[in-house]
């Protein structure tokens, strides 16, 4: 690990950040974080979900104000009081999803907030805007039509438009948040080439990525964050992936993931040639009692769509679903729940919880029928359910009357798990169960999953996190572009194998669309 003192301040350092702390109600999102960036360097920032990467970026771009800490830009202390300030100082960020205006044209997306004006009335110069946009895109080696609608471009093309946008603002520091999350292998390599080109021109890049491949092929140095804390910075040559993973997780993998010993029993769920037009097709797999089955692939591969179709959130157009030997077709999630199939949705705050409601009200929601006494709801029965969940899942709360929104991410997720448990379902479908959850709660959730498997539940886990899939699953179904590309047994798990099966295959026809 190298110390900050190793670099004399001001010597080639574009950015120097020390002691940055950001506190949100209930969490220290950033705790005494430091970070530095050299001129013309690509510095990777990695960490698990919830490690504080996005908060860090938002502090750097002026979206959030830090509670303490200093930011030196070219040796001068700066205060990013709002995003405009950061932009004027030459710091541009390319966010993963949220930066595009889907309804507007490419040219307009590039120059929004930085419009090309002309004439005494300062009207927008549309021909000039389109010309400059075309020139910028061309300098990136891209022929995207500046008049095209942003929402109709592919993710890779949108990514390039975002880079063009940053270039149009003469950014000296470019922050890229998961730029390759939804790109194919070739697209990623093309992006790498563009980023290397920027680096040669002297732009400094902060690269946030889940994919070690990105980190190793681009970065000069890598910094790890965990639970909002700075863990360390390494030159890329001295950081092997095992070391990075250990630092990201905070302990060695074997200690982190519980030993799963549940015996595999009879088949609980069988999905046969399931399809939904435009989202996925011919998806087949089966899940047995005591088994944890991973469903993985890149963002946009159709994983969530598959589990939603299984659980009756949406309806499949073709194929069949067999639950404990009987063919089923659910039209709403409640029906699936009644038949023993429970879903832990991807976005717990929007889909999993009623945030202003208490823990016990949330937990009892799927099973209110069982909480009735003399045909009316019984408070004591609801409370008992709540207390049971708190005890069973070790939810950190004063009582079952605490509201869900007052809990930390990890404890919120446990409440959603409590909902599933109270439902007496036999099959649990968990969509990214540890997303945005701190490391301690992650370990607890893994333990719960193993316990459930040992009790004979079948668990289908959707996950993007490679270590999680490799350590927790008995088998993994890998999806790519809406189809199952491989089903691997635990013995055959390798990061390369899973990645290879996840990567989209190039299609000539798709190139221009």
């Amino acid at each position: 690990m190298q110390e900050m003192g190793a670099h004399p301040a001001g010597d080639g350092l574009v950015l120097e950040i020390t002691g940055v702390t950001k506190i949100f109600p209930g969490i220290r999102a950033l705790d005494d974080v430091r970070f530095d960036l050299r001129r013309g360097e690509i510095h990777a920032l990695i960490g698990e979900n919830g490690a504080g990467k996005s908060t860090f970026i938002k502090v750097l771009t002026g979206v959030h104000q830090p509670d303490s800490g200093t930011i030196l830009l070219n040796g001068q202390p700066v205060r990013m009081t709002d995003p405009l300030v950061a932009r004027r100082l030459g710091i541009a960020a390319i966010y993963q999803h949220l930066a595009a205006y889907p309804h507007l044209s490419v040219a307009e997306n590039i120059f929004m907030g930085n419009e090309q004006l002309s004439g005494p009335l300062q009207f927008i110069n549309w021909p000039g805007t389109r010309r400059r946009a075309a020139a910028l895109l061309k300098s990136l080696g891209s022929g995207i039509d500046p008049a095209a609608k942003m929402g109709e471009l592919s993710v890779a093309q949108q990514q390039i438009v975002e880079i063009a946008k940053a270039l149009s603002q003469d950014a000296s520091v470019l922050i890229m948040d998961e730029p390759t999350a939804a790109l194919s292998q070739t697209e990623s390599e093309e992006l790498y080439a563009i980023v290397r080109g920027l680096k040669e021109k002297g732009t400094s890049v902060i690269l946030i990525s889940h994919r070690f491949e990105d980190v190793y092929s681009l970065a000069d140095r890598v910094t790890v964050l965990r639970d909002g804390r700075y863990i360390g910075t390494w030159d890329i040559q001295e950081a092997d992936s095992a070391l990075l993973v250990n630092h990201m997780v905070g302990r060695s993998i074997d200690q982190f993931f519980p030993q799963k010993t549940a015996p595999i029993g009879k088949e609980l769920l069988r999905v046969d040639k399931l399809g939904r037009t435009g989202f996925f097709s011919e998806v087949s797999f089966s899940l047995r009692a005591g088994e944890i089955l991973g469903l993985t692939g890149l963002v946009g591969a159709g994983r969530t769509e598959v589990v939603e179709a299984i659980c009756g959130v949406t309806r499949p157009d073709s194929g069949s679903i067999t639950l404990e030997g009987k063919e089923v077709r659910f039209t709403r999630p409640g029906e699936a729940l009644g038949r023993g199939l429970a879903l832990l949705p991807e976005d717990r705050q929007k889909q999993g919880l009623l945030l202003p409601w208490s823990i016990e009200d949330n937990v009892s929601l799927p099973t209110l029928e069982a909480c009735k006494k003399h045909r009316l709801l019984s408070r004591p029965l609801i409370s008992r359910l709540g207390s049971k969940a708190i005890e069973q899942l070790a939810i950190k709360a004063r009582s079952g009357l605490d509201t869900a929104e007052s809990l930390s991410g990890g404890n919120q997720q446990k409440v959603v798990l409590g909902k599933l448990l109270s439902s007496r379902a036999r099959v649990m479908v968990m969509d990214e169960p540890t997303k945005g959850v701190d490391v301690g709660s992650k370990a607890a959730i893994y333990q719960i999953m193993c316990d459930l498997a040992a009790q004979g539940f079948g668990i289908l886990m959707v996950s993007s996190e490679m270590p999680e899939v490799m350590a927790m699953c008995d088998r993994a179904v890998i999806m790519r572009q809406g189809r199952v590309s491989a089903i691997l047994d635990r013995a055959d798990f390798t990061p390369e194998g899973i990645l290879r099966a996840s990567m989209p295959v190039e299609r000539k026809e798709a190139a221009g669309a």
């Binding site: 205006y101 889907p102 929004m112 080696g141 190139a511």
Partner: protein
């Protein structure tokens, strides 16, 4: 990804051109109603419809701005009433003085031409009142974080209340109006009513504003992706606020047109008009979730409603029953909107099917 996109002729693109589609629907409507009653398709009547719809278009322009940022304003008829009433009361008070003065000077012709506060000042006053209402709505929504429909539902009643307060419970009649004001919507130029010209002016100003100014484009940006807009340093709240102020100004102006046209200002003038205006925007292709909509579409949407309204009267399908007329209007508007939704969905489904899995 760096390959140049292949531009192919896409008939779907043409079909998706809502303005074209809407123009065809409009023409078909005029043709069909004209077949049943040739008087409908006469130049005279069409000019009449245009004049009649002008006020709705002026309002729809403002509503479009509000919808673009992802908000809505259902208090506009109340704003129209309050603005017109305020200006009307000022006009009424100054009118009596002018008459008295004229009589005292012994001028013979003075009594024949009623004078009062100059019309431009009255218009400015009404626009100012409207802007004030828009400002309050906008503040409630952007800084108070009240849901737009709730905020303007509440402000609607308050504004009607103010209108009552200002009027003192009395209506302003033709006898209280200056000659200028009465003639305001009765003049014509090149065969078109002055309302049409005022509407055209508003249309052009808005068109330039929304296509060529930074602020105008930011209305789209905020509605298209508010979070992105915020991240790129756009003051989302100020933009939302401004949309409501624009709506308010146009509602004030429209209130004056309405009052002059009707020769009467009552405290609950134009009640229920907001629904036509919102419907005009929706038919014209403005997304109620914000971010998309074209100004030409909005005008065509309003014209469609104008044609339907007039056509229903001309066809005498419903006798003299206002009740049935309203019911049919509602049904026709719903059919138009549902048709639009289905066309849109059909397009989305085609896109999904074209995706290769």
């Amino acid at each position: 990804m760096s390959k140049p996109p292949v531009k192919v002729f896409n008939p779907g693109r043409l079909l998706r051109n809502r303005e074209l589609g809407l123009s065809l629907v409009l023409l078909a409507l005029v043709g069909l109603i004209g077949l049943r009653n040739p008087a409908f398709a006469s130049i005279n009547n069409l000019q009449f419809i245009l004049g009649d719809t002008a006020i709705m278009i002026v309002l729809a322009l403002g509503m479009m701005c509000v919808l673009l940022v992802g908000s809505i304003d259902i208090s506009i008829s109340a704003v129209m009433a309050l603005s017109a009433m305020t200006a009307g009361i000022v006009m009424k008070n100054n009118l009596s003085q002018a008459e008295a003065q004229a009589l005292a000077e012994g001028a013979v012709s003075a009594a024949a031409v009623k004078v009062s506060t100059p019309l431009p000042l009255l218009l400015l006053l009404a626009a100012g009142v409207g802007a004030g209402c828009g400002l309050v709505n906008g503040l409630l929504i952007s800084y108070g974080r009240v849901l737009p429909i709730v905020a303007t539902l509440g402000s609607q009643y308050i504004i009607y209340g103010l209108s009552h307060l200002v009027s003192g419970g009395q209506a302003v009649y033709r006898k209280d109006m200056s000659e200028d004001f009465i003639q305001f919507t009765r003049g014509s130029f090149l065969g078109f009513n002055s309302k049409v010209w005022i509407m055209l002016a508003a249309f052009l100003v808005l068109l330039v504003f929304i296509t060529y100014t930074r602020h105008g484009r930011r209305l789209y940006a905020v509605g298209s992706n508010a979070e992105a807009a915020r991240l790129s340093g756009i003051n989302v709240r100020a933009v939302t606020l401004s949309a409501h102020v624009i709506m308010g100004i146009l509602a004030g102006l429209a209130g004056m047109l309405y009052a002059s046209h009707d020769n009467k200002i009552t405290q609950d003038m134009a009640m229920g008009y907001e629904m036509y205006v919102i419907a005009a925007c929706v038919i014209g292709g403005v997304s109620v979730t914000g971010g998309s909509g074209k100004i030409l579409g909005v005008a065509l949407g309003a014209l469609t409603i104008g044609v339907i309204n007039n056509g229903l009267t001309m066809l005498r399908l419903t006798g003299n029953s206002e009740f049935w007329k309203k019911a049919i209007q509602g049904a026709v508007i719903l059919v138009a909107i549902i048709t639009n939704v289905y066309i849109q969905r059909g397009h989305e489904r085609r896109v999904l099917r074209e995706r290769r899995l």
